[in-house]
């Protein structure tokens, strides 16, 4: 078995989760703090759209923006000699776009579950908004955020459609595990894909177990065991 798809997949998922994690938290914080309901509904819709759109459509949009014949793509290519489409960067970009809504929605839900009275209490105690975010909102939302991050990582790892559209299926460069499986099966070589399938299933299972672990650990502060 060629291990390069597994390595590329892990590298892609790892790079994309770092971006998605911070982007998702940032967007969630922004949306939760919005005062106008109408604006919130609209922005939330836009940010969640990648969750429901077919990945090929997302790939299509990325190509529309970054394709070498498009203004932005041409600009990057001519000024910096950077070609994003059909490169490893494109696999990361595709994974970020596809996994972002999972991270964003989990973080948003986690922030919204933080008791508003705690935030108000922080304010009346003179804590700055930044401090309230760091010391109250983040710690209390952490279990939800962590499980969102894990979910987004798993989604990035399994990304296929958008990746195929914008990064192609170039061996040793953009061929991730899902693409390798597809390529083997398409070539009529079922046996060749067994290893890849096993790796994907294994990693996904580990990731989901981690997520449950975070969720259980979330009850730490409400633990009454010590009360005796």
């Amino acid at each position: 078995m060629d291990w390069s798809p597994a390595l590329i997949s892990l590298k892609t998922a790892s790079a994309s989760i770092v971006i998605t994690f911070f982007l998702g938290i940032f967007a969630a914080k922004l949306v939760v703090g919005m005062k106008s309901d109408k604006a919130r509904i609209f922005i939330d819709g836009v940010l969640t759209l990648p969750l429901v759109l077919p990945p090929t459509v997302l790939g299509f949009f990325i190509l529309l923006v970054l394709g070498v014949k498009r203004p932005l793509g041409r600009f990057l290519l001519e000024l910096f000699s950077v070609k994003i489409v059909f490169s490893w960067t494109a696999t990361v970009l595709a994974a970020v776009v596809v996994s972002f809504p999972l991270m964003y929605r989990s973080a948003r839900g986690a922030f919204e579950q933080v008791d508003n009275n705690l935030i108000m209490a922080g304010r009346t105690l003179g804590m700055s908004e930044r401090r309230i975010f760091r010391r109250i909102m983040m710690p209390l939302a952490l279990p939800g955020i962590a499980s969102g991050g894990v979910l987004a990582f798993a989604r990035g790892l399994g990304e296929f459609g958008a990746t195929a559209m914008v990064a192609g299926n170039i061996a040793n460069k953009t061929r991730t595990l899902p693409l390798a499986i597809y390529a083997e099966v398409a070539a009529g070589n079922m046996e060749g894909s067994y290893g890849y399938v096993a790796v994907v299933v294994l990693i996904s299972f580990i990731v989901l177990s981690l997520m449950n672990y975070f969720t259980i650990r979330g009850s730490k502060y409400t633990d009454k065991d010590d009360l005796k």
Binding site: R123, G126, D223
Partner: protein, 344 residues
């Protein structure tokens, strides 16, 4: 020390419109749930923004819609104790108390230790709120606010999160603790007992409006209006008509006599402990029959009516258990009204 509040805030189906001031003595705000008590406190603390009006604390304008002043809660220096205490569940008691302090690590530690001692929770510092009892949580919450040295203390239903069996014990305790704070205190409650015990002055609030304001004792001893009488827990209220210096209570079918001028009196209220059982008729004595009796821990609350009255509005009064045994088999009772409220 003074706090002046004059604010309006509209919601769908609810309008808060309150206007009161304090003079340095404890002020109680008594009202049913949903009457706007907590919202008033939140507006003072700055975590809710009124639509219009003015809030002035010790000559410092906190909010003024006319001049577009709205000081952020962080700069108002107001201590707000939330109904469920709002302790940060991810911080220990110590960390909670120190959360808002802007001091060096060393000074903070000193201050927090001092407060833990003062509030007699020295051994609780390392515990998380979920590991503390209700009473301990209450102390941590109070310590956390007092650590911050606020100009005014707002207490939002300080006992509603506690078991009722613990309440009376904690009332005394809490009051001792509260004395550690030298400043203005506003206490919001729906409990008449708490309002009576804790506050020198009292504001009654109903449907977002202040319906009475004055010395607590005076309001409880002599309510002036129908809504005030209801709020202090007077169960016996009847509409009345004045004729010949006598008061005809139309719901009860009885006539009461009283000294003094009886103008502007459209309701009569009689506290349920203001009756006396007598053997025969006379002035302000009602002949009636028993319609209901409820046994309570140390007394009976009985309902009576006479034949001329409205059967949906009986008179309630409380009798001790000894007296109850004497009257329970009687067909007719005579009860004398000692004193009553004249309400507008």
């Amino acid at each position: 020390m003074s706090l002046e509040v004059n604010i309006k805030k509209k919601y769908k189906g609810f309008c808060l419109d309150v206007n009161f001031h304090t003079n340095g003595e404890y002020l109680g705000i008594l009202g049913a749930s949903g009457s706007g008590k907590s919202l008033t406190l939140k507006c003072i603390a700055g975590v809710e923004r009124p639509d219009e009006g003015k809030i002035v604390l010790n000559n410092r304008v906190l909010y003024d819609s006319n001049n577009n002043i709205n000081i952020i809660p962080q700069s108002r220096n107001i201590g707000y104790m939330f109904q469920n205490y709002a302790l940060f569940p991810n911080m220990t008691a110590e960390e909670n108390i120190g959360a808002g302090l802007k001091l060096s690590k060393k000074e903070k530690k000193l201050k927090v230790d001092e407060l833990l001692n003062l509030f007699r929770i020295e051994d609780m510092g390392y515990k998380y709120p979920a590991q503390l009892s209700g009473g301990q949580q209450q102390r941590v919450a109070l310590a956390r606010i007092i650590a911050y040295e606020p100009d005014v203390l707002l207490l939002d239903e300080p006992f509603s999160a506690l078991d009722s069996s613990l309440k009376s014990e904690l009332h005394t305790d809490f009051f001792d603790m509260l004395k550690l704070y030298k400043g203005e205190v506003l206490i919001v409650t729906h409990s008449r007992d708490e309002a009576y015990r804790f506050s020198k002055n009292l504001a009654l609030i109903e449907n977002g409006r202040i319906t009475g304001f004055g010395k607590t004792k005076e309001i409880f001893e002599n309510p002036k209006s129908l809504s005030q009488a209801k709020m202090i827990g007077c169960k016996n209220i009847s509409p009345c008509e004045i004729s010949d210096n006598k008061i005809i209570c139309t719901d009860w079918g009885i006539v009461l006599e009283a000294d003094g001028i009886l103008e502007n009196c459209s309701y009569v209220g009689i506290p349920s402990n203001n009756f006396k059982m007598v053997n025969e008729g006379g002035i302000n004595t009602i002949k009636c029959k028993l319609v209901n009796a409820v046994e309570e821990i140390d007394k009976y609350t009985i309902a009576v009516e006479n034949n001329n009255g409205n059967e949906n509005n009986p008179i309630y009064f409380s009798v001790n258990k000894e007296d109850w045994n004497k009257i329970k088999n009687k067909n007719e009772l005579y009860i004398k009204v000692n004193d009553f409220y004249r309400l507008i």
